[in-house]
């Protein structure tokens, strides 16, 4: 049996495929009730280990619009899971005969990756903890496509909680991939984390510039804005002398709510959070900007702009249905995307010995009691840098062993280049090395 295609990460789709999804979504949106035979006889199962009614209803609406059937398990946490069943077993059963695709929501990072390793049918990640939510990103991109006709070169403001919002990080990577420019306008104290900036730079060549945001007027507030541009270096060099990039005209403002559920001590209270109001939108640079929000909103967008034609956040949510229709129809084999899948498939290896080197306590490799083997991806060989294959967090270790030679090395040792990835063992300290009977390499 050929392994089915999944959507665990937005990176599982190439740019051409995403553009093709947009085209199909356009067709679905033009006649939402005209495709009620597309997936007739097929079934999706919503397996939601945490409640997310909006996301669930959006997927289920998409499937119903395609004429398919839906199975709903809105409260997985309190049902099978309580009998101690592993996620691997659940998806093998549900995907084995009950449903033709699984829409999975889980509170642990990497859950969708794990599910995709075992499921006989396509798994769609509908949010795995703080990790990924690729259909939200697809929906956000699709909205830019509908409103602007293209994404390349757009100027997009990301505003609010840029620190804890999973949505905004994924959106930033995707914008960079599509060659759009980003103006970060964070709530002070909630700046974009370094590891996000690092990945933007490493993977997409994005350069941060200090931004002059006076033209954003009220919106910028006291924020220390940053301009992120994936332009090629030789283009950037034209501005080398500019310490500030002047924001002239914005295409979209993407506002996010404070992720108070993830706030730590010392983080601000809800009421001090920035607020987009009628007068904020008076700024010249925002004349043609659409206002987006992944919803639910609280008070960060004032209702006084709900009727402003630039406010598209309700349309934005509505467009989640046609883009999910396009995705479901694709994964269920009912439409064929133009464009090829991503060329580079990431390589994953299991951790063959020692304890789980993933430091993330809510990674599925830690929260799932059964049928999970820690796995990793390699980012660099010298020094050896590896990430958890589930939650993408960088692994923590002081030494690296080889399971055949039983020797261990410092991560920057050149000897490690000779060790096959299948033989790498991550050791937190010398004690654990000795416990596994590894000895120090004399190199």
């Amino acid at each position: 049996m050929q392994s089915p295609r999944h959507l665990v990460s937005i990176d599982d789709l190439s740019l051409d495929e995403i553009r093709s999804l947009f085209e199909h979504a356009d067709h679905f949106a033009a006649d939402p009730r005209g495709f009620a035979d597309t997936c007739r006889g097929m079934i999706t199962a919503s397996l939601f280990y945490e409640a997310s009614t909006r996301t669930r209803l959006s997927f289920e609406s998409a499937m119903l619009r395609l004429g398919g059937g839906i199975l709903t398990a809105a409260e997985m946490r309190t049902s099978s899971a309580s009998k101690g069943e592993s996620l691997a077993d659940t998806v093998r059963v549900v995907g084995g005969g009950y449903a033709d695709a699984i829409v999975l929501r889980h509170s642990s990072e990497g859950a969708a990756q794990l599910a995709s390793e075992f499921s006989p049918v396509p798994v769609i990640n509908a949010g795995d903890g703080a990790h990924e939510h690729p259909t939200q990103t697809l929906c956000d991109l699709y909205n830019l496509h509908v409103e602007r006709g293209h994404i390349d070169g757009l100027e997009v403001v990301l505003a609010g909680d840029l620190k804890y919002s999973r949505t905004v990080h994924s959106f930033a990577y995707a914008l960079a991939r599509f060659n759009a420019n980003i103006i970060c306008v964070p709530q002070p104290g909630f700046e974009m984390p370094k590891y996000v900036l690092q990945r933007l730079s490493d993977e997409f060549g994005v350069e941060p510039l200090r931004a002059d945001v006076r033209k954003l007027g009220d919106l910028a507030g006291s924020s220390d804005a940053v301009y992120l541009t994936p332009q090629k270096p030789h283009q950037l060099s034209l501005f080398t002398d500019l310490s500030d990039w002047q924001v002239q005209s914005v295409d979209a403002v993407y506002m996010t709510r404070p992720q108070t559920e993830r706030f730590g001590e010392g983080d601000l209270s809800d009421t001090q959070y920035m607020r987009l109001e009628k007068r904020s939108m008076d700024a010249d640079s925002l004349r043609d900007a659409v206002v987006m929000h992944p919803l639910p909103r609280r008070d960060e967008i004032d209702s006084d702009i709900d009727n402003d034609p630039r406010s598209i956040y309700f349309k934005q949510a509505a467009r989640g249905v046609p883009i999910r229709m396009a995705l479901l129809a694709t994964l269920l084999g009912k439409i064929q995307l133009a464009g090829k899948p991503p060329k580079v498939q990431r390589q994953v290896w299991p951790v063959v010995a020692g304890s789980n080197p993933c430091p993330n306590p809510s990674c599925i490799s830690r929260t799932e009691p059964r049928h999970v083997t820690p796995k990793f991806t390699l980012r660099s060989r010298t020094p050896l840098v590896a990430h958890c294959a589930y939650c993408s967090r960088e692994l923590v270790f002081r030494f690296v062993g080889c399971s055949t030679s039983k020797h261990y090395h410092a991560p920057d040792s050149r000897e490690l280049q000779k060790v096959l990835p299948d033989h790498l063992v991550f050791l937190p300290d010398e004690g654990s090395a000795q416990a596994l009977a590894y000895s120090k390499a004399h190199a």
Copy 2:
């Protein structure tokens, strides 16, 4: 975009329209599986902020019988709401693209009215706290129509908890509107409230008479019965000398359960409640009476009459499906009702200043933290009497201000007739008037 038609209150439908719904329901009931293409491709969403499985399943069955799809959110209280989303936002999202109609159940009075102000698709009130439940009333009326062929002039006993039962109040208004007569047989201490009698008199010209209920036999028990008749005054005058209206023959007995969840201290215990038994139905006057109950029942109807052909309460529930099919097909634009909509549309104004004058703590204008402006309707200009536009409760205030003149008046002041409704401000006392910088009018 034209505003869609909603069903917030039974008053949103004219008598002719209700009769037309009955005719359509008759067709659906005659062949429940013969209309599976009527709403093909359309979707309803059940947004239930409190559990009511029977009501939900009845609507969902109706939609499935019409060939439509259903989205279910049976536990809204514990999902999106917990992320602080407003009802207004939720219905804009769900109605914006997920579903073609919203079936809303909520614990706050006025929730359906609020939802209808924001939803781009029809909202059906499936119960808003103690306020309205119009499809229950439609179902009750439809049962009389099926069993008796007409409603006009019927003699209907309302028995049990006439104080707290929302269902029985709505049914009483509707019976009066259809020109039926009502015999109130309350559990002692649970008489029909004055405000209900007042509305019956004000809106439908219903006159209460002391009733001679000896012919009801056992059913009447120790109850102090009241006869409510919407007959025209000149007809009533024929009986002016009669202190008691003698009940001869009853068409229907509508029994209600004790609403113990709303009982206050001092209200009776469950076990003392009246009970309809086999022998109760031996009374001559009840020979042809059908026994109705909105269900669920507890002990107020003994199971020894479950098999009596006059007991129609299970049929009554079953008929909720065809009448809801008729309603859904209407609001989704699939059938056209004979008859015109109600002529008088009630006028609603926002409260422009001051605190919320609605005294009802469970009104949606108080329980909903976002996107709600208190609104009111006017019942009388002199003295000024206003009701909350959401929960219909009479507003509480000692003075009324004018937002342009900044003067305030006593509610019975003739000056108030000159103030436009858009400028009315309801003031609980002089202190609040002063706080808003209003001064006493010299009139």
Copy 3:
């Protein structure tokens, strides 16, 4: 109205009917998406008074594959039930017009029997407490049919918790009925209960032999195995001299999880439980054995055999869909089974006086507050042995009265043979006899 056909117990189906269901299931399995018009326009309602997501999804998938609609009440316990509605009323309403069949899951034994007495539409027992779960048994049998082509004469190992597992008891009765042989390999301390062995002997003539399980190798472990064979006595006599029956070749190993939720004090901890591993399957006698498990599993089957072609537990779950399709299509009148229904219908009588003689505290006759009359079946007249008609538990009483003579007798009295079953009264002691004004018979 003719009473519909229900599936309360696996005994409600004759062997011929079960074989016919298998044939239909084979057709459905061969083309799962080719029957989407079979039940078009029909609706099933999942009424789940306790969560069982897998079972629910399996039924709902089956109905969707047949083109029908599904109503879901996954949390009945917390909804209508909380308003005090009886199960009898709920099924009369849901079966009265909402749905064309009811799939019922309940925590009380006998709930499905009760529901079937009141429901106007077919009731399918999807598990009633520790009592029955006939579609699980059907699914298990169907798997043997698919894997082996027949059931008669198969050698089936039942392993693990044979004491508390409802599934394994039902499966054992069914195997005996189909004339298969059973090798019990219990976790020590969790042997098959005597009442199960008794019923196997009484109803199916099954004889237990001490089994020589050395050929089972690792699987047998320290278990004291028993061989159960429904062979005719004259065949058995051939082996009379053999104290041990030697197990040669096994067709299926049916492993069960420890039912820890029913463990009492002194029962072992989860971790001491037996475990089926790769090496366990090396035994010669297991070369062709399929490994089955009703799922969910915990650790009793090691994941190292998940990919062994003999491990069919995920296929086994998947096959629950086509067999349930066959059952639903049958009960909804869409297919006609070859073969006649069971000849003997069990006779049931109500308990006409005295307290409920059923000793089972979780029997529906005890947990359901309304609309239930204790009922019994007779197993023997002298001595008088009776079982609860709901939960099948043997009734507890010291004397038996006659409701017409007002006399009471010892259970082994020959006088009782003259008492009509409708007049039997079960008396726990003399005190209760006197309280009911019964006097001792002088016989």
